[in-house]
């Protein structure tokens, strides 16, 4: 009995004392940091260094900002930046609205809800390459099924060359990427939706608010923090998108669907301009980093607001 008391007292005393940070966390931390630094940070640093060099016939020499100067004068670079931002904002809009619509649907109570929720996430589970394959087949100008549907749209007369017409290729990509990615956003929004207290809706109903008014005044404001965070995530996911774009249009026609990622890949693996590709990659990295910082700031603000409100939520 005394031994147990002593043990307990010792444990309590140990925790009550101002903790002198023991080496334990750092022992756990070290392998992780080494691992990440070795495989991620170190290559990034080298990539940045690469962008300050030039390689000719196997000889690499330091050229300072020459690659960047060339980049700023390269029209392809600027069109990539523009394409990237167009694509990103389109994806934010599509993913958030589609995700919200499906989340609202999944929030209804109906028989088979679990089943529907499960199968609506399948687009996320299907790997990129079969998705590209299937959409390429569906969009084929000669036998694509989507052309058959599109014939119903007024003003559409002939076979649509989805993947080789400039604006249409962009739209096709947005549809494909939107389809692939919306389940993620739906699930997160669904969990946020479910944390909205039912009493708010009941009170509004009693006050005579219709469904649209309830949505505008209760649902949407409650979702603003989540939507903000998801918007930043969508921004980042769009930057990461590569295989769906590259394998379907190759960045074409011309360079019409070349986002920064595609341009970097082409520069590196088609033209073997590793140094130039690295310069473009640094720009992409800076933009992605800006997105990350934005995400962290937003998340801190949301967490602080939540703590003040005392609302329990998933994110």
């Amino acid at each position: 009995m005394n031994a147990v008391l002593d043990l307990a007292r010792g444990a309590v005393a140990r925790r009550a004392r101002k903790p002198r940070t023991s080496p334990f966390p750092y022992a756990l931390l070290a392998p992780i940091v080494v691992f990440e630094c070795l495989f991620v940070i170190y290559p990034i640093v080298r990539g940045i260094l690469l962008s300050f060099h030039e390689t000719n016939f196997g000889v690499t020499k330091f050229v300072g900002l020459a690659q960047y100067r060339q980049m700023l004068h390269d029209p392809i670079f600027w069109s990539s930046v523009q394409t990237t931002f167009e694509f990103t904002f389109a994806m934010i809009a599509v993913w958030l609205s589609l995700g919200l619509a499906v989340a609202l649907l999944m929030n209804w109570s109906f028989a088979g809800r679990g089943f529907v929720r499960a199968i609506l996430a399948i687009p996320w589970a299907v790997p990129d390459i079969p998705v590209v394959l299937t959409f390429t087949i569906m969009l084929d100008p000669n036998f694509g099924i989507l052309n058959r549907f599109a014939a119903f749209i007024p003003g559409v007369h002939h076979q649509i060359q989805w993947l080789s017409a400039p604006n249409l290729a962009f739209i096709a990509i947005i549809i494909m990427v939107g389809w692939k990615g919306f389940p993620f956003f739906s699930l997160i929004l669904l969990s946020s939706l479910q944390s909205i207290p039912d009493e708010l809706y009941e009170a509004a109903k009693v006050d005579g608010a219709g469904p649209v008014r309830r949505f505008r005044s209760i649902t949407l404001p409650a979702l603003y923090p989540t939507l903000g965070l998801l918007g930043v995530l969508a921004f980042i996911f769009s930057f990461q998108q590569f295989s769906l774009i590259y394998l379907s249009t190759g960045g074409g026609p011309g360079t019409d669907t070349s986002t920064l990622a595609v341009t970097i890949y082409n520069q590196a693996f088609e033209f073997f301009n590793y140094n130039y590709a690295s310069a473009v990659a640094v720009v992409g990295l800076l933009l992605a980093a800006a997105g990350t910082v934005l995400y962290i700031v937003l998340q801190r603000r949301v967490a602080r607001a939540r703590r003040l409100e005392g609302v329990n939520a998933a994110l």
Binding site: I44, R46, A118, P123, M138, A281
Partner: protein
């Protein structure tokens, strides 16, 4: 909502309008749900359809929504004279490595973020987030250079480890929110009982966070199975291709028939989709820390 109580004899024989409206709105709901599901899953349907119907049916115009003839020979003949089986094995190997290595680092990492008190949590969190959110195309060139120097190109294990490096951060976050849901009383009780902090991790936190572990494993698996960019950059030996990479080389190949191509796609998708469907409840719980009813 207060129910209006009327004696049975006094109730009108006509069905009250409220019930009719409710039935109509239920019907509309189900109709919307069906339509949304059909539209959302249509590409999947098309994928399966193209696999099982002979190629001629797939390339006629106008294409039909329903199949005329079904043939299973496409699937069975898929593996003849085709490196696809080997490629699938490669993808499996790489993904297994990724999952294992990710878990090895994510479990202590989540512990660090969730339960342990130490200085530097903030910067560590930022490092993880930054690593996670980095687009692959930005790092593929220096990674390739690095791996070339190590002689690790065309090395499946090495690629698996690289994928893990990019998955560990997200794994830490997912597992952290799972660890956070374990009540502190349980952890404190274990600590008071004299349990070392390492053992608290393995005896207390992990068993109670199975959904989180499953979610991390699935995310890591998908990150590896799905990848094209790094596989394309690192694997130049065709006999070592992962399945995704191999199938993508077929896309521009005119000699491959459509149904065969889609058959390969279907087989490639089978594992991730099945995996997801069987564990999706855990994944959802793990990703949202149990917030979904």
């Amino acid at each position: 909502m207060a129910a209006e109580v009327t004696p049975v004899a006094a109730r009108p024989l006509v069905r009250p309008r409220r019930s009719r409206r409710r039935k109509a709105s239920a019907f509309v709901r189900y109709a919307v749900i069906v339509v949304v599901c059909v539209v959302a899953l249509f590409p999947v349907y098309w994928m399966v359809l193209t696999t099982f119907q002979p190629e001629q049916d797939s390339i006629t115009y106008p294409p039909d929504l329903l199949p005329h003839g079904i043939q299973f020979s496409t699937l069975t003949s898929l593996f003849d004279g085709n490196p696809i089986a080997a490629w699938l094995l490669h993808s499996l190997t790489v993904s297994a490595v990724t999952v294992v290595v990710t878990l090895i680092f994510a479990i202590p990492g989540a512990y660090l973020l969730s339960r342990l008190r130490w200085r530097g949590v903030g910067p560590f969190g930022f490092l993880l987030l930054f690593t996670q959110l980095m687009p692959g195309a930005m790092v593929v060139v220096p990674e390739l250079q690095f791996f070339r120097e190590l002689g690790w190109t065309n090395n499946l294990l090495a690629i698996g480890v690289l994928y893990a490096a990019f998955n560990v951060p997200l794994g830490c976050w997912i597992l952290k929110s799972s660890f956070d849901t374990v009540p502190s009383e349980v952890v404190d009780a274990a600590l008071v009982d004299g349990c070392g902090r390492m053992r608290v991790l393995y005896r207390v936190l992990l068993p109670l966070s199975k959904p989180g572990v499953v979610a991390v494993a699935i995310v890591a698996f998908f990150g590896s199975w799905n990848d094209y960019l790094f596989a394309a950059a690192f694997l130049t030996n065709q006999s070592l291709y992962t399945a995704g990479l191999g199938i993508s080389t077929f896309i521009s190949d005119q000699t491959i028939k459509l149904d065969q191509l889609e058959a390969a796609g279907v087989v490639f998708s089978l594992l991730p989709v099945l995996l997801y469907l069987t564990v999706q409840r855990h994944v959802v719980r793990g990703l949202t820390a149990g917030a979904i009813k």
